[in-house]
Symmetry: C2
C-alpha cells in the first residue's frame, strides 16, 4: 500500500509541450527564478533540495518561485523524506523552446 | 539651421549592449510587443510606421509599447514627416543577446 503525504499529493507538474511561450517568459523574467535555474543547471539532477538554495527571499516566497517554475515546465520536483529535490527539465524544455534556456540561464544577468 | 520638433527630440534610444537581461526579458514578455517585433522581423527596415500596426490596444498604450521596445534596445525609431518609422535592431540585439530573438520572436506564441 502506497501512502502519499498531503504534501506530495499537491505536487502538480506541467509538461513543457503544454506551456505557452508567455508562461515560459513570465517564469524566466525574474532574477530569483533565474538564479534557481542556474543553480540547477550546474549541479547533477536531483541533488539540490529546496531548502539548500541561497535565495534573498523568505521561505514562502521561495516556495512560490519553485511553484512557478514547475507550472512553466522548467523544473521537476519530488519529495524524499523531509527534502524536496529538484531537477531542471532541460531536454524536454529545450525541445519545446529551443534556445531559450541557452539565451537566459546559460549566461549572466 | 536644423529645427527639431519636440516630438523628435524626445526620441531616446538605448544600445542593446547597455541593456540588462532583465530589461530585455521584461520587454519580450508581452504579447503585443512580440507581435510588433514579429511584424518588424518580416518587413524591410524603416518601412513600418507606428500607426500602421494592427494592435489590439489604444494609441497611448501602443506608444508605451514602442517606448518599452526602444528602451530595451529592440527597436530603432525615426520621424519622417508625420510618420514614425521603425526598424528591428536585429544584428546589434543578437550580438548582446544571442538566440533570444530566435527563441521568442522567430516562433509562434
Amino acid at each position: 500500500m502506497v501512502v502519499e503525504s498531503a504534501r506530495a499529493r499537491t505536487l502538480s507538474h506541467v509538461e513543457p509541450a503544454e506551456v505557452p511561450l508567455q508562461v515560459a517568459l513570465d517564469a524566466l523574467a525574474d532574477p530569483v527564478r533565474r538564479s534557481i535555474l542556474r543553480d540547477l543547471a550546474t549541479h547533477d539532477e536531483w541533488t539540490r533540495a529546496c531548502g539548500t538554495f541561497d535565495l534573498p527571499v523568505k521561505k514562502a516566497t521561495a516556495s512560490h518561485h519553485f511553484a512557478v517554475l514547475r507550472s512553466a515546465g522548467l523544473i521537476e520536483q519530488r519529495d524524499e523524506g523531509a527534502r524536496r529535490l529538484n531537477r531542471l527539465r532541460r531536454p524536454e524544455f529545450d525541445k519545446s523552446f529551443p534556445g531559450l534556456l541557452a539565451a537566459t540561464v546559460d549566461r549572466e544577468d
